[in-house]
Symmetry: C2
């Protein structure tokens, strides 16, 4: 009996097809062929090509979000959590960009088409940061009166560290000295949050 056609299987196949043909050429028919099903079967799960591409982009971004979530749910002082969160984000992005540059470039194209998905991902990331900052304020480790609400402070931290997570800077992540630059910005930001 054939394996059931789940959304997850379709998304996996889509990533393979995108890797093989590139974002410009990959079609829903290619995905269906790779799965040995009709393109109608794919469209039953994803109603348009754009929806399929947005879903595969979301899945790619979710992998990073999951790693970050485990930092937020971990224990330890807020300052340590923030350090770990920023480091995890930078490392995850660096790996994505460095381990498979072609796939990374492909997803950069997809992300530019699915701005809603990217915006939700950013909001989710800022929300995680806000949780850490809120906890640090409650514990008295971070200043409660600085830089507005925990959400505003979280946006500021996210923006201040953009060089180490925004894909526009991917070319910088393999340069010598980037680790030191990251540690300097991370210290600056953490000092800025402390009482």
């Amino acid at each position: 009996m054939a394996e059931a056609l789940t959304p997850e299987r379709i998304l996996e196949a889509t990533e393979d097809v995108l890797r093989r043909y590139g974002p410009g050429k990959a079609t829903v028919v290619d995905v269906a062929r790779a799965l040995g099903v009709s393109h109608g079967s794919v469209y039953r799960h994803f109603r348009t090509k754009a929806a399929l591409r947005a879903a595969v982009t979301q899945r790619w971004l979710d992998r990073t979000s999951e790693q970050l979530k485990s930092v937020v749910s971990g224990t330890g002082p807020a300052g340590q959590q923030l350090d770990r969160w920023l480091t995890t984000l930078f490392e995850a992005k660096r790996h994505k960009a460095g381990d498979d540059p072609e796939l990374f470039a492909t997803y950069t194209v997809l992300a530019s088409e699915a701005s809603g998905v990217v915006e939700r991902h950013i909001e989710d990331s800022v929300g995680q940061l806000a949780q850490i900052i809120e906890a640090g304020r409650d514990e008295g480790e971070f200043a409660a009166d600085a830089i507005g609400s925990a959400y505003e402070a979280a946006r500021a931290v996210f923006h201040a560290t953009a060089r180490f997570h925004d894909p526009v800077y991917a070319a910088e992540w393999s340069r010598p000295g980037v680790e030191d630059d990251f540690l300097s910005v991370r210290s600056l930001v953490l000092r800025g949050l402390r009482r």
Copy 2:
């Protein structure tokens, strides 16, 4: 008698020509024609087309550096100077991008060709920041032991504020809320430097 052909006149004419034809089409012959001279006369001042384009890029970047230099040589506590420096930089970039978007796009293309010129401009900017930070440390307003040397701290400040001066973010500078985002990052950075 004809006006003397100075480098400055050539650079002015080059900017005009670039504005008119775009960076893809503008030639040295166009510049010479605009000045009513032979292209040989232009080449006597700038030996190659690349050298001319690099010089006009430098002139464009220097306009911002000059504005910033006057902040560094001004008086007042280092914290205030830093605020003013970052605000001046953001405002200068926003104006360049917003007042004449076509010329800004042209210079973005030119800057990508003249990476040496851009790197020197960035080093110059970081050097100005380091001067402010050094002074703030001497006066005891900034922590002397945080984030390494004044130069390292300056790099961190420059990187942390990239969203508000790096041309890759130019599209963000006209969005509602960008002012608040800037003020949040500026506060975060300043807090990070203080004792």
